[in-house]
Symmetry: C2
Subunit: 343 residues, 2 copies
DNA sequence: CTGAAAGCGCTAACAT
DNA sequence: ATGTTAGCGCTTTCAG
């Protein structure tokens, strides 16, 4: 079926004409209904529904009204973690009648720059961004030019914008401390291919906890890296092989995310190891399925959705006159389940 | 910085003044750079970076240029399935320089109506929507008023807009046929609490396949429903108990999604059953972790990301003059893995 | 209570 | 090669 000519949307002008009033009366019906006589109002409203009148957001914005659009930039909105984050942001924005323009950067600087530009041109109310590197210069420029920015899960050393962070260092520490407390002395850490701030912090925290316990990361810790290709199924097997075939195989494996952990467990089972009997495994992020696995996965949980809400509220807050940039930090917790035990 | 407070963004006018040219020359630098003398152009560009000039999208739109914004409405962008769908849409839109305004409806009609209104007011280029009920009247109104709409994974009986669908009936059939072929005769189906079109279709297809095989759904099939509360961990246990404690426990359990399947497997293991030795389990959606589970989950796979891309392209296509509304249907496939076997 | 009029920042003729 | 100008649809004084 071919679409008939797109019905030309008349504006307030057309409505005014058909209702026999002026545009400003129509405007009043919309913005200050009580100023308009009841029957005038009704007549105008009738015409509006009749012609299918829809207000023009762009025109309002041009007049200087605050935008209802908020830009949200993450590394990949297809990733469950960011998906939930986005959902939290959406929640936090809903009351203010705002919606999100969501973009993914895939950790590519050009893409980040491109979407930032785009969002800025849309004159969004503000931008919530998960920076893809510690170098947030371009982001600060945007802020400087007048678009409020909130950094999410990024570098914290920056007080010219608001930020919401997760203490990933603590997350890493929790994992290491848990494993050490269980008696593990030969540990492995499976890192992701991506070099983002959170990933680095986690590993940092992990190492720090080892040192605190008097262990030397150089000897007690093996680091493995998932391949960027991220065909996790085969990759997990490769990683497990690599680890088990060492002279001193680790008794516990910490993973940078839950998916990797699932893969590792599967690889261990394939090699006849029991989890946690022979080897303990820890995940990170505590995605929905983690608690459902067998064995239920010990993992690091962050209140992601709440984090999104907080970030959204912070942004909305920037409207206030006496606004001070602040940092809200969320602490992850360790959900201890059945995939970890004594060596 | 010259001014205190929020730096007031000057427009082309300011740039023109500072560069000693007219606004239209500035416009030309932006839109038809080759029409402008090289050094004039450079001068203008210098001023632009100096004052941090950013084009106003709203103003351009008001002038009638196509919007770069596309509305995307799903049931819940936090759900991995829709998250990946959104990602696919984002991909498909990227080349056209468009970004997505993503909204979730939580299957609430008022919310759907609200966001549709909002998107319409933003004068988006088009809307991609996963309707939350077969009643798409409100959506068609939007289309009628002039905003191109593409229905995603919704009812198919509608030829006044484009649509992208998944043959969930086929999906259900594939599952049932697979289980029947393995020799199962007492089956269970775990449905979700939500009554959306796709969910209904899946079950329909499942039943149809039973009938085709000469089985009577009334006796060969037990339907169980997850609680809306969706505390899946306990719920899965409850469901498994309910199923196993029957006089004629099923030998195969099909689930409406992978998460439910994981929970069911866990519940079965808890009750000492082996999968697939004692009971076979099938998921739906084939999320990332499905293949990594132990046993690897047999599940129904849809090319979700590709589906999103297709939907996006369809929408962009509506710009064309000789556009015909069409339906693109994607066929799911069954990824047979280790969670299913003979009874 | 209602109307007239001045732009918001930009584009696209149409001059020069 | 550059300048002038008329709006796009709306909000917002300021007058009737």
């Amino acid at each position: 079926m071919t679409r008939a000519g797109r019905p030309r949307r008349g504006g307030m002008r057309q409505v005014a004409q058909l209702a026999g009033v002026s545009v400003s009366t129509v405007a009043n019906v919309l913005n200050n209904p009580r100023l308009v006589a009841a029957d005038t109002r009704r007549r105008v409203q009738e015409v509006m529904t009749e012609v299918g009148f829809v207000r023009s957001g762009p025109a309002r914005q041009l007049r200087g009204l605050p935008s209802q659009l908020v830009g949200v930039v993450t590394l990949d909105q297809g990733n469950p973690f960011y998906a939930v984050l986005n959902r939290g942001i959406e929640d936090g924005l809903a009351d203010a009648g705002c919606v999100t323009l969501t973009c993914s950067t895939d950790v590519r600087p050009e893409t980040e720059a491109r979407v930032l530009r785009l969002l800025e041109e849309q004159a969004v109310r503000g931008i919530l961004i998960t920076p893809n590197s510690p170098d947030v210069g371009g982001i600060l420029d945007v802020s400087r030019r007048g678009t409020p920015v909130v950094l999410v899960d990024g570098p914290e050393d920056c007080d010219s914008v608001c930020s919401v962070t997760i203490d990933h260092r603590l997350g890493g520490q929790l994992v290491a401390a848990h494993l050490i407390a269980l008696g593990h002395r030969r540990l492995a850490y499976v890192r992701t291919a991506v070099e983002a701030v959170p990933a680095i912090d986690r590993l940092d925290g992990f190492r720090a906890a080892l040192r605190t316990a008097g262990l030397d990361p150089a000897t007690a810790l093996v680091e493995v890296r998932t391949s960027p290709a991220a065909r996790l199924v085969e990759d997990a097997d490769r990683i497990v092989d690599e680890l088990l075939d060492r002279a001193d195989p680790p008794t516990a494996i910490a993973c940078a995310n839950d998916l990797a952990a699932v893969g590792v467990i599967r690889g261990l089972v394939r090699r006849g190891r029991r989890v946690p009997g022979d080897v303990s495994v820890v995940g990170y992020d505590d995605l929905d399925f983690a608690a459902l696995l067998h064995p239920a996965l010990t993992s690091v949980r962050t209140p992601v959705r709440e984090l999104g809400r907080a970030a959204a509220r912070m942004l909305l807050d920037e409207g206030g006159d006496d606004h001070h940039h602040a940092e809200v930090r969320f602490e992850p917790t360790l959900a201890v389940r059945d995939s970890t035990g004594p060596p």
